[in-house]
Subunit: 159 residues, 2 copies
């Protein structure tokens, strides 16, 4: 049937086709999709990605200022305020003034926080297996290495 205005119908699969051909702006959009998947899992589980990262780092390296957390985890300072608020209110973190520099806090993970972290960590393998199930083991390793490299190079701005 002839129509003057030919409108593309469903099932064109334009986006994946384009993406497979070359690395361009579209692929940066794909990165956002991966990030969204993590956010969705995190909110569903009840512990935001930011909160998770903070607990992870505090557990690994000990008490930190919000500034240090902010820089290392690439989370904006003003956002870190709310993240620490939530963690503190949940009792997963203590905020004590650093006696050597009373401008900053010494944010410390509590036992409750450590238990919460362990619980969240336990769910990650299943999430990753599900999210990246279409990738081979090699591809997962490649993705990991590549993103780490980009991070170290400071892609995406300083914060």
């Amino acid at each position: 049937m002839a129509t003057t205005t030919r409108t593309t119908d469903r099932g064109t699969a334009y986006f994946p086709r384009l993406a497979a051909e070359r690395l361009d702006i579209a692929l940066c959009r794909a990165s956002a999709a991966v990030a969204r998947a993590a956010d969705a899992h995190a909110t569903e589980e009840g512990l935001g990605v930011g909160q998770h990262l903070v607990l992870q780092m505090l557990d690994a390296v000990g008490p930190c200022s919000q500034q240090t957390l902010s820089e290392e985890l690439r989370i904006d300072r003003s956002v870190m305020v709310g993240v620490c608020d939530d963690l503190e209110q949940a009792g997963h973190v203590r905020r004590e003034r650093n006696p050597r520099d009373r401008r900053s806090y010494a944010v410390t993970i509590t036992d409750s926080g450590r238990r919460r972290l362990a619980r969240a960590q336990a769910l990650i393998p299943a999430f990753l297996d599900d999210t990246f199930k279409v990738l081979t083991s090699d591809e997962r390793g490649q993705l990991s290495a590549i993103l780490a490299k980009l991070l170290q190079a400071g892609v995406g701005g300083p914060r």
Copy 2:
């Protein structure tokens, strides 16, 4: 100098170190950084990533409804309204009612839109070279293939 509360000092490089070790929540955060880099470049250049993708697709496959654009490009319908508003106001796109289905528009790229697209496309290689300069050619190919694979698998939800 001994202190009771040991606060981690600058330069720990905790995040990259963690990221390099294993694929976990932190790496999904890295994906967000890549997406941010593209957004920053786009706004600086004056044509948003969403607008760019819409022009790209309209140029490639012809007139589409906003719904089709939305699904293929993984942009929320309600966001697509604004994207098309901006493109239409700039004269890069025409919105005509589809006579066969008056619910939908037939969004069509104009000559102005085609010129704008060409101008934006011309800047992409330089942006990519800069953003991914720390990657080898092989790694770029791997990243491209992996993200495309994830896209086809529908990572990040339907929209």
